[in-house]
Assembly symmetry: C2
Homo-oligomer: 428 residues x 2
């Protein structure tokens, strides 16, 4: 490799106890394990969930490089890489120095029982980038453990439509694959896959909606056309929330599913972004449904009117706060599902068992297994370049590309909600 | 109708504040609404969830007739019944005086948007039998609101295999359709229908398990045979828990699904019942899996050994207490699902949002929509007469049929766990 062992790099580091971001010279990491890959970072994102550590809410006291979203180029590989590793996770055989890669926000071994099921975000050997246990991506170089399982090789022609990597996709757009876009797709997919949503999606009552059509069923009344309209609320319109809405509308369009979707945020700036994105996208099934962007109180009125007071079949919570869960609970119907992809804190859940029983509520929590979601997210990224391409436009998910000198100010302004999504160019 | 308007009946009534059960003479109810049906009760069950009111935990202070499980014969019908009601819920047209009926533990209108989707347990017009808002089934007669939608007509030959009602099914067996058997089937069905279980059931990793096989997918490792073995824990082996296990094993057998199931209870008497039932049933796929009955602490060891410490893919909680939910959480894997059909109380859920996020936990709560589950439960009841037939045997779900004079003592002994399931014969 071409990097001198002794050289240093610039990195954005968090210092305890809170709100302390510094750009510092630190050593360039070196391959330590045969499975390691060293990546030269092209862009590194600043993500809403970075704020948990930033604010000192994560119970962390170790100085570390921040950031869990990064895209870059492979500059060094451990000894596991090469034809002799056939039978291991596929990239150990095929990844080469010079390949363009994007990484999930967590590492994963790819070979344990958890990874084999695609639950890569909870690999027992995995770690979160930009945490005390694994240095983050807001640096010029980053060491990726289990690189042959963790990374997604954007230079592999097999992953591209027509097997031709398109240079039309900017790296700033591809960076969305690290977290926000797969998490949005994951949220929408989980929500639409839940058993309690299948009544509306299949047009068949419970439990016929879950069973082969030959099963003898109850002598129930026929569902009306209105019963087959899916009502969904998305709570939180940060970048992941917007990706969730885009993915959800895409999936509903692909199914020809009539819908009513309300997208909710407290901040007008985020609502404006959501409206701009929605105006711009040419969703296949846009004509299939109604779409409203509003504040929480207005959303309650909208959902009540839409559903005769029954509530949403599905609510997707993309905030990670009990206030958002409580709003989701207010909006969800009996026999509805709340899908939460927000990073939650230490407070106890704000529900009693009786409330959950009385509402037949279902709840799905947790982190997106980005590695497993890459193909679906990548397909949507290519399809929806009208929204996922570009920087700094009203409908862009990325507001600004900046240099590390602005890092402390960026964290401050992002935490205050004064700016949207920012990405860093470590070489600018 | 043949019942004099002035006559009285015997009924088991609960008196506030708690632990006060009396058998009293009360008026026989009369048809009040055109949709009402009056049923002469043949048998009425005593159910674990009756104990919430019995113990004074339900915030109730009104004297009322207890019990929400009953089977009987139609003795009077309101004016809605007859050929003129074609287009309404089907039984308004077909139900006749003299028909044998079983009722869900809640009434439902059958015609609102909630009922049309099969979510009958949460019909906004429905009420719980044996509660302050609706007199219960532990009486000689009971008035059933929305009888044409609520009741299940066991005299209808169309619901029987070969369209011949079999007299081999005892009424004590058919009474299980009121609550415990449909609730067990509901619990098992919900659990096996959850998206997070589809990896194991389909043998395809997330998210391929949820998508058409043509979708481009991640280059993941092949799942092993052991990855395709479903591990399930059932927490709580009261009558509903036993029905859950029987239904679960039946569904797994029908799919040819390899499994490991652990059935858990604190009480040795319940574990013995579960073992006796399991020994007796000739489950289609008994050879497909392992089945262990044990106490909670032993279950933790068993699950750890079975899953290399990863945990159960699905846990079904049939208790309705935070202790049971906490045990379920200890047993469930990351990306697993806890299905709770227990009636929970007022305490806040014993989990933090962080715990749920960190474990990618899913939770399903709520009451069985018995009306919608009747056909599935009925099919299982007929198929599994080896367990669901008979009274007072080691493998019987019903331990005793008794008269109302024993009611107060039955409640006391049942509440103390000294006896298993009891049903009352109001005419004995």
């Amino acid at each position: 490799m071409s990097i001198p062992l002794t050289s240093t790099q610039k990195a954005v580091r968090w210092h305890p106890p809170s709100y302390d971001i510094r750009v510092e010279d630190v050593p360039i990491p070196q391959i330590q394990h045969p499975d390691d890959a060293l990546v030269k970072v092209k862009f590194a994102g600043l993500c809403g969930s970075d704020l948990h550590v930033y604010r000192g809410h994560a119970g962390v006291d170790k100085v570390h490089i921040s950031g869990h979203e990064f895209i870059g180029e492979v500059v060094a590989l451990g000894s596991s890489y090469g034809p002799h590793s056939k039978g291991r996770a596929p990239l150990y055989t095929t990844l080469k120095i010079g390949d363009k890669v994007v990484s999930p926000f967590t590492s994963n071994c790819g070979e344990c029982p958890v990874c084999r099921l695609g639950y890569t975000a909870r690999c027992p050997n995995g770690k979160l980038f930009g945490s005390p246990t694994l240095e983050g991506g807001q640096a010029q170089f980053i060491l990726v453990p289990y690189g042959g399982a963790t990374l997604f090789n954007l230079s592999d022609p097999n992953i591209w439509p027509n097997r031709t990597p398109t240079t039309a996709l900017e790296d700033s757009s591809l960076l969305m694959l690290a977290d926000i876009l797969p998490t949005g797709v994951f949220a929408a997919l989980q929500s639409l896959s839940h058993p309690k949503v299948q009544t509306v999606l299949t047009g068949k009552p419970w439990p016929a909606c879950l069973l082969p059509s030959t099963t003898p069923m109850a002598d129930s009344m026929t569902m009306t056309q209105d019963d087959k309209v899916l009502t969904v609320a998305v709570v939180g319109l940060g970048p992941v929330g917007v990706c969730t809405v885009v993915s959800l509308l895409d999936m509903l369009g692909a199914r020809g599913q009539p819908y009513r979707v309300v997208a909710i945020d407290l901040l007008e700036s985020r609502r404006q972004k959501m409206r701009a994105v929605h105006d711009k996208i040419d969703v296949q099934g846009k004509g299939l449904g109604e779409f409203v962007v509003c504040a929480p109180d207005e959303a309650k009125v909208v959902v009540k009117a839409w559903t005769q007071g029954i509530g949403c079949t599905a609510v997707i919570e993309v905030v990670g706060h009990n206030d958002a869960l409580e709003l989701a609970h207010e909006l969800v119907r009996a026999f509805g599902v709340i899908t939460s992809v927000g990073v939650h804190g230490q407070p106890q859940l704000p529900f009693t068992g009786r409330e959950m029983y009385n509402g037949n509520v279902s709840l799905d929590f947790g982190r997106c297994p980005v590695r497993a979601m890459f193909p679906m997210a990548f397909e949507l990224l290519i399809k929806r370049q009208d929204v996922f391409g570009g920087v700094g436009q009203p409908a862009s998910l990325i507001d600004n590309i900046t240099d590390f000198k602005q890092a402390a100010e960026c964290y401050r302004a992002f935490e205050k909600g004064e700016v949207g999504k920012i990405i860093f160019d470590p070489w600018m």
